[in-house]
């Protein structure tokens, strides 16, 4: 069994989760603080979660493909995204971002606003408030968001195959490998990859649950 799909999947999901982590938290904070167009912004960010992944992949192709103006612009620097590893990361980011965004936003909204106000009146800078108050007190939600978006990225299929393709050793992830194996009538290989995905996802979700139960003092704090 060629293990490159496993490596590519872990790398793609890992890289996507790093981007998703920062972008999701940033967007969550931005939307929480918005006064106008909050609903619209929320809907746009959440959209990739409810759209068919093929639609997301199709739009990515339209937006960043070689025929798009953005794609042509990038080609001037010899940057081509379609059917590359980077494309797989972008696809995974777009579909997993809503999960990170929504869980982080929920966690931020549960915080008592007076805690933030108090920190401000006590002279604590916005940056320190973010890292030492907002993030630690929302850590259960943020952690859940990381695991959910990572496992979502692990299993990403539709947008990836549309935008990054299914090139063995290059862009073939575990889920696209399963598709290829089934098409080649190799059910044994498909089953093996399917089991790997199930085990990985199960382990990560269980880790998340254990982690939240053991590191979070937060649950007891909101009395």
């Amino acid at each position: 069994m060629e293990i490159s799909p496993l490596i590519i999947t872990l790398e793609t999901a890992g890289a996507a989760t790093v981007v998703t982590f920062f972008a999701g938290i940033g967007l969550a904070l931005m939307v929480v603080r918005m006064n106008r167009f909050k609903g619209l912004a929320d809907a746009i960010i959440t959209l990739p979660m409810v759209l068919p992944p093929t639609v997301v992949g199709f739009f990515l192709l339209l937006l960043l493909g070689k025929r798009s103006s953005l794609g042509r612009f990038l080609l001037q620097w010899d940057i081509s995204l379609v059917f590359t590893w980077k494309a797989a990361v972008i696809a995974a980011v777009v579909v997993s971002l809503p999960l990170m965004y929504r869980t982080a936003r929920g966690a931020f909204e549960q915080l008592d606003p007076n805690i933030i106000h108090a920190a401000r009146t006590l002279g604590v800078s916005e940056w320190r408030i973010f890292w030492h108050i907002l993030v630690p007190n929302a850590r259960a939600g943020i952690l859940a968001g990381v695991v959910l978006s990572f496992t979502r990225a692990l299993g990403e299929f539709g947008a990836t195959i549309m935008f990054a393709g299914n090139i063995p050793g290059k862009t073939q992830t575990m889920s696209t490998a399963i598709y290829a194996a089934v098409q080649a009538n190799d059910y044994e290989l498909a089953f093996d990859w399917a089991m790997v995905i199930v085990v990985f996802s199960l382990v990560f979700v269980m880790l998340m649950n254990w982690w939240i139960a053991h590191t979070d003092k937060g649950a007891a704090l909101w009395n």
């Binding site: 805690i115 106000h117 401000r120 009146t121 604590v124 108050i133 007190n137 937060g218």
Partner: protein
């Protein structure tokens, strides 16, 4: 210490209009909940932004809509004691204090130790806020405010979340905190007792309108407006009109009363506090025969609801010591009640 505030802010159902100055004293804003008093404090602290106006603390302009000045809460150095104390839940008490203390490490740890000691929190230094009682949380919040070197203290309903005895103890301790601010603070409360005991000056705020500033004693003696009279705890209010220079007709009570002060022509209401009525045995000036509507026994007194004999007037609440009422009850004579002219509150609005 000098603070001048003049702000306007449109709120959901009314406009907040607050103009006042505070100088080396405890100043109280007395108002019912939702009247805009907490919003006033939040505008001063920079948590909320007024629509227009000016806020100056010790000559430092914190906010000026015309000059386009709007300092961040961090730049204002104003200590705000929140009703729920708002301690950082992820930090111990020691960390809560240390996190906001400024200066080099040695100075910070000195401030932490000093304030832990001052508020009797040394044993609780490593406890988390949720492990503390309400009173302890309040002390920790004070310790944190003092460690942050703020110039002014804002107290938002500081004792309303606490029960009777604890409330009293913390009220006494507040005196020590105030010394660090040269006795200056801005207090927001709906509790008239709290305001009377703690504040030197006070103003009533009603539907966002800050009424005239008085010394606290004057405000309670002569509240001037209906809102102030109610908020200072007067239970008996009647519509009233002038009948002579020093006489009024109290419509709801069906009583004609002499008053000590001159009656303004446009008088609208009259009030009398429940414990200022006096028992008499015969008719006379401001003394009327009364019938009893209801008798309620309270802890240390009787509350007797009375109205002028033979009328269906609105009952007047009368509060009197148990011994006085029991002595009267045993006599079984007719009830006459005297309303002292100097105790009658007159209101034009």
């Amino acid at each position: 210490m000098e603070l001048t505030v003049s702000i306007r802010k449109q709120l959901r159902s009314f406009e907040l209009v607050a103009d006042f100055a505070v100088q080396d004293e405890v100043f109280a804003l007395l108002g019912a909940s939702g009247c805009g008093k907490s919003m006033t404090l939040k505008c001063i602290a920079g948590i909320e932004t007024p629509d227009s106006g000016r806020i100056v603390l010790n000559g430092r302009v914190l906010y000026d809509s015309e000059l386009g000045i709007d300092l961040s809460p961090q730049q204002r150095h104003i200590g705000y004691l929140f009703q729920n104390y708002a301690l950082f839940p992820n930090m111990t008490i020691k960390e809560n204090i240390g996190f906001v203390a400024s200066g080099p490490a040695s100075e910070r740890s000195a401030k932490v130790q000093e304030n832990l000691e001052r508020f009797g929190l040394k044993e609780l230094a490593d406890a988390y806020p949720h492990e503390l009682s309400g009173g302890q949380q309040q002390r920790a919040a004070f310790a944190r405010i003092l460690a942050a070197d703020s110039e002014l203290l804002l107290l938002d309903e500081p004792f309303s979340a606490l029960d009777g005895y604890l409330k009293w103890q913390l009220e006494l301790e507040l005196g020590d905190v105030l010394k660090s601010y040269h006795g200056t603070a801005l207090l927001v409360s709906h509790d008239r007792g709290e305001v009377y005991r703690l504040a030197g000056k006070a103003a009533v705020i009603k539907q966002g309108r800050l009424e005239q500033v008085h010394t606290t004693k004057d405000l309670f003696k002569n509240p001037e407006t209906l809102a102030a009279t109610l908020l200072t705890g007067c239970k008996n209010i009647s519509q009233a009109k002038q009948v002579a220079k020093q006489r009024i007709w109290a419509e709801d009570w069906a009583l004609e009363l002499a008053v000590a002060a001159g009656v303004p022509e446009n008088i609208r209401y009259a009030g009398i506090r429940a414990h200022f009525l006096e028992l008499r045995s015969q008719a006379g000036e401001n003394t009327y025969p009364m019938e009893i509507v209801q008798i309620i026994e309270d802890v240390f007194s009787y509350l007797v609801m009375i109205r002028r004999q033979g009328t269906s007037a609105k009952p007047i609440r009368w509060e009197l010591p148990k011994a006085v009422w029991e002595e009267y009850s045993s006599r079984k004579t007719e009830l006459y009640v005297y309303i002292p002219p100097e105790k009658i509150i007159l209101m034009q609005q």
